[in-house]
Amino acid sequence: MSTPTASPSAIRGDARLSYAVQAIVLILVLVACTGLAITLTSTVRTRIDATATREHQLSPQALRVLERIYVPVRIVIAADMAASNASDRLRLEDVLDKFTRANSRLELRVLDTGSPAGIEEYDSLLRSLADDEKAAIARHREGISAAIAATGQTADGVRSLLPTLALLGDALIEHAGGAGSPGAEQIRARFNEQAAMYRLVASNLDAAVKRSNEIMARNLDPLPLPQLDQAGDALRPALRDAITSLTRMNEEMDRLARGEIRELLETARTRARDLATLVAPLRDLAARVPIDLDALGRLRILSIAQAIQRTRACLLIAPPATSIQDAQSRPTLTAVAMDELLPLADQAGAQDQDRRFRAEELLTAGLASLAGGSRPLVVFLHAYPLRLSPGFEELQRVSNSIFLRGMEVTEWAIGLDEKQPALISAARSAGRPIVWICFPFEARAADAAPRVARLADAMAALARDGEAMMVNLQPSTLPGTGADDPMASFLREIGVDARTATPIVQQSRSAAGRWVDAASVLTDPGADHPISLTLRSLRTRIAWAVPIRPVSPMPAGVRIEPVLRLPATPEVWGESEFGPLRQVPPERWPDFASPPTPGGVRDLLGDSAQGDWTIAAAVTRSSPTLPRDQRVLIVGGLDWLTDTQTLAGEVVEGRPIYAFPGNLELFIAGTTWLAGQDDLVARTGASASISTIPSLSAGQRSALAWSLIAGLPVLVLLSGAAWRLARG
């Protein structure tokens, strides 16, 4: 450029090059600034919850549980990430994020079992968990092997009785007049029958042993140990039969030996005595087995086995216990039902709306079980002629929910065991809170009478002794006949008059006509007891609700607070002639000659005149004889806590939702309150209220829909046309 004639094209080329460089630099700077700014703002971020209900913050209950976590807890989520919905995953991540944010002791670990490395990690985790409980597992193995051996011995013993039994039969035939006598055939037949029965008992025991051994031989995939508890449980039914049979034989032989049949031949008596001496130790051997099995207790890792799947689990792991006391007060491992926490992609869609709340509730419950403090024991007290445990069929949801909250669940089947299970006295001596869930029982059959009486006595005793109880009620025809209802009369001592003779029935009128129903469904608990507060805006359904009234005069030291209250209207009444109605479903009630109607005749006891209907009440009783205040929750219903009700779903426009979420909530809050864990009685995440679109008539709906779908756009187009016309 020294001369004016320097090639201009050289200059131009430089200028263009510098433009290109300038552009590239600008683009790079812009991209870098953007990246930096996004990184910065995504690191330093605040999440503001704009919802009125603060639904994106942890529920008060979760926060309280987190306050009580004083040991580091690992939350391990193992799942094949590709197999679940991205949105579910993110939602779960959100919830976990909230938890780990709220308590720094929580450590989150996510294993993607979709990859081989993840599966390897997951397996080694499970192995290390089994290692942690090595001692307990060994003890269990030993105990169960012993039980299996004892059961086998019992079977052999029962078989060895048979010859002696035959000899006794012969002696008796001889006594009856020899082989040809008319009685002889009868006796022979009877003894053959007996022998067959014992053979059956023996073979049942063998089968149980076989089954138990099978279970012991097989590891519970993916856990590196057999399902020890099932191996033990497999023995129980056969043993129960054996004990019953042996006990009966022992009694019979005793009778024979003691000479109750006076003219019995000496040979027969001797045989009977021989048999009795054989039977007694055998019975004791058999009877020992269930007690020993009970004493083994529940193996923690097995109790969560059902929640651990081949590739999926959510485990909450606290460090191993440091002392025996620590071990008793604080479980170190719990699991969360993975199918509910993070459903597989093909299961998604159901209850989408509630999943986040559900995740929070599940995790809260799991963490609560790891939190310190003595674990409450919940006892189902009933007089049914069967055992509910360990499956708690029909009560699965409620028992699982409290189990996952760190409570232990057991039962006292008073119809089968006259004495309280050993577990209860052990828990009592350990100072653990015990909560009794009482199921009323009414039976006409004569053989049930002792069970009913025992149940009534037990409940009365518990109430007297100041135990924490949840008393469920069902209608009874007994008061109508002038008798006392043994399932409710004991409540008078703690100031409660349960009107079991007049369950609540209500009617409603619609275009289709009058509709009468025995189910009370409440969305507003109508009371402000802490338990009631958890039920607000949740639907709670109690069928054949029994009205609860305070007695007058009120016993000293008793305070009764309503928990569920149904407003008094002319449409609600106490139906005294409910007997036949209970036998048939409500839709067939109009077939009755005199269908139920409100009014004085049926409302014999005049309950309707006494204001609102209390159908659940909380009683607090203080007395100098009691070490602490007694808490009793009385619920005027029975079926409300069954799976039928707690799992009842309805499909609202293609979307399944729980129909009566309040039922489970009532049980959880009630149990928690009874266990004295007042700070856990708070509304769980699951119950945050969501106001919904009310039902509209088809006409209304389509009018509204079409005016929005078509009306609004057409309006816009018309205004556009008008605008154009007006302005040219």
Binding site: P8, I11, L17, G728
Partner: protein, 364 residues
């Protein structure tokens, strides 16, 4: 002085003017290679330097594709020069592009406007773009509408207007903010003759105005009469370079003084071959005559085209004498000298590979 150093010079111009200093524009791609830059592409404007003064209408004349529009676009900052500096009223068109653009009123070729807008809406929008103060906006709009005779269509949508009106709307938008510099790219294209006449008058009129009372008006055209009738100064551009610069008369005179005239001689019809040959030889023998070309016309006469040498003066007398001397009797019916028209000058300049006309406006 290279253009790069010119960038840093701060020129204060009391009068509005357009200055271009060795401006080039290259379309296409530059491929840097070892040492020097090889350039590929089209050099649309090639090392142009010029100064355009206010108060007169300057015409930028050139055939299509000569680089007129590119040069204008660089002046209006729509394009950035590949090299060189343009200053509008002293503002660098790249470095002080905002100030430079603010002082320009620009009517692009074919006057692009928003057809869906109303005339007055469009003008109001342009007024806001040029930051005409709110209180002066109405007056400015009224003045522009008035000057461009648009008052009767101010409420009409531009899309409904004829081409001439649209052109005027563009012009109104260009003069709205009373710019110091007005650049019109092909202002009369697509107009009918009467509209062209009106446009000419308007353009001449527009040299008065702007902040200093004298305005730079630059218009481009590829139509010669338009420029010669409207402009006080004509710049002829061809193949990216300024080939000529001056008033239309100057250009012609220059051309007349520098370019060779031609002498045409026609013999009487029926003149003999030999007489014609003699005349041709006689004239051809004159000093200052370069060549003689004879052609036969339809009526039997001969036409001699006589091309003088560059240095020759007026040869009419000498030719007449030579012709009379070569042929007895009356032989001629016409003897004339042809001087080139502006058109021919233009064509000559445009077609010549390198300009021989010294461009008076070229800065050194």
């Amino acid at each position: 002085m290279g253009p790069a150093s010119g960038v840093h010079q701060c020129v204060y111009a009391p009068d509005p003017m357009i200055q271009a200093d060795r401006v080039s524009k290259l379309f296409g791609r530059a491929t840097p290679s070892t040492g020097s830059s090889r350039v590929r592409g089209v050099l649309a404007v090639d090392d142009v330097s010029l100064t355009i003064e206010p108060g007169v209408v300057t015409g930028l004349l050139g055939p299509n594709g000569a680089g007129k529009t590119t040069l204008i676009r660089m002046m209006t900052s729509y394009l950035t020069p590949s090299a060189g500096v343009i200053r509008i009223c002293g503002h660098d068109s790249v470095l002080a592009s905002g100030a430079a653009r603010a002082s320009i009123g620009y009517l692009p070729e074919s006057a692009p406007v928003y057809p869906e807008m109303r005339v007055e809406d469009f003008l109001a929008y342009r007024a806001r773009i040029f930051c005409v103060p709110r209180d002066k906006r109405k007056a400015a709009m009224d003045r522009a509408l008035d000057r461009c005779s648009l008052a009767d269509v101010r409420h009409r949508r531009i899309g409904q207007l004829s081409k001439g009106y649209r052109q005027r709307v563009g012009l109104a938008a260009a003069i709205l903010h009373d710019p110091a510099v007005l650049i019109l790219d092909e202002p009369s294209s697509g107009l009918d003759p009467s509209q062209i006449q009106a446009m000419r008058a308007l353009v001449r009129d527009l040299t008065m105005g702007g902040p200093t009372g004298k305005r730079v008006v630059l218009l481009s055209s590829h139509i010669l009469p338009e420029v010669s009738l409207t402009c006080d100064r004509v710049l002829i551009i061809a193949r990216g370079r300024i080939r000529a610069d001056g008033t239309p008369e100057q250009l012609v005179n220059n051309a007349a003084s520098t370019s060779r005239s031609e002498y045409v001689l026609e013999t009487l019809a029926g003149l003999s071959e030999s007489a014609t040959g003699a005349i041709s030889a006689g004239v051809g023998g004159l000093p200052g005559v370069e060549s003689v070309h004879v052609e036969v016309l339809g009526d039997g006469s001969r036409r001699l085209k006589i091309r003088p040498t560059a240095e020759a003066g007026d040869l009419r007398e000498a030719i007449a004498r030579a012709a009379a001397a070569s042929a007895p009797g009356p032989a001629l019916r016409e003897l004339s000298r042809r001087t080139p028209t502006l058109e021919e000058v233009f064509n000559g300049i445009v077609e010549r590979p390198e300009s021989l006309v010294p461009a008076s406006g070229v800065a050194s």
